[in-house]
Assembly symmetry: C2
Homo-oligomer: 132 residues x 2
Amino acid sequence: MNFEYLIKTHNLKVTAQRVSILENMNNYGHINIDELFLEVKKNFNNISLATLYKNINLMIKNSLIKEVKIASYKSKYEIKKDTHAHILCTVCNEFEDLDFNCSLAVDNVEKTTAYKIDNSEFIFSGICQKCQ
Amino acid sequence: MNFEYLIKTHNLKVTAQRVSILENMNNYGHINIDELFLEVKKNFNNISLATLYKNINLMIKNSLIKEVKIASYKSKYEIKKDTHAHILCTVCNEFEDLDFNCSLAVDNVEKTTAYKIDNSEFIFSGICQKCQ
DNA sequence: GTATTTGCAAATGATTTGCAGTGCT
DNA sequence: AGCACTGCAAATCATTTGCAAATAC
């Protein structure tokens, strides 16, 4: 994935810190602020949480990344892609994307409510096969 | 709705503050901490945020209420009922329950992932008909 | 009567802001 | 030169904790 291009096309300036943030989000799939801080620190020893938060908020505003809020956990951040569902195992804390037809549900809701939907969240949580 | 009974059957002691918390959750449908604080203050002038948080956390632990986390907003709390979806208008901030067949989706996910699902969140957001 | 709850104040944790210095174009 | 970005320190906002007095059962 070309992160510099991704940043530019979302109307932001390319900085090494921003590239590192996106690289780590991409590697983890979903990453919370503390994990991100530890990872980015490996390349930028002096980076501050303030810089992370500023960049995350900017990237969210410019629709480059997305915050996923999860009850009882810290928010996770992911690079924005087509709407998809998430599934969480509350025992091992595995958190994954799920193959689930969201657009069908969205179409349905738009028809029945007359809302124009621009975002949707689907989070399933429970116990994965290994942990049962 | 009989709130005292509801509290007792969830193994908690009945206090006037707890009843008031549930009454307000029920009236609002979904309520955030600041709204709840203002409302409960009308009956209990000296109630503190600490008491609200303590009670909310206890009630969540005992499955009496549920926290709904929403990106860009403060969490809302609701009295627990059968799984249902939510819809948010990002213009007027209207937040409502949605008639949406969640159990069908849950069954499906359990089959395809072999997870045992015990909770799920469905939040649609966009612009309601009035605000379009 | 005992254990739990309440309300206050203080502590902790999370996020944001202001500002001086740096770097990019 | 000018503008945006970074990193630090401090400020703000959100939530939790400890404790003494009050209340539920």
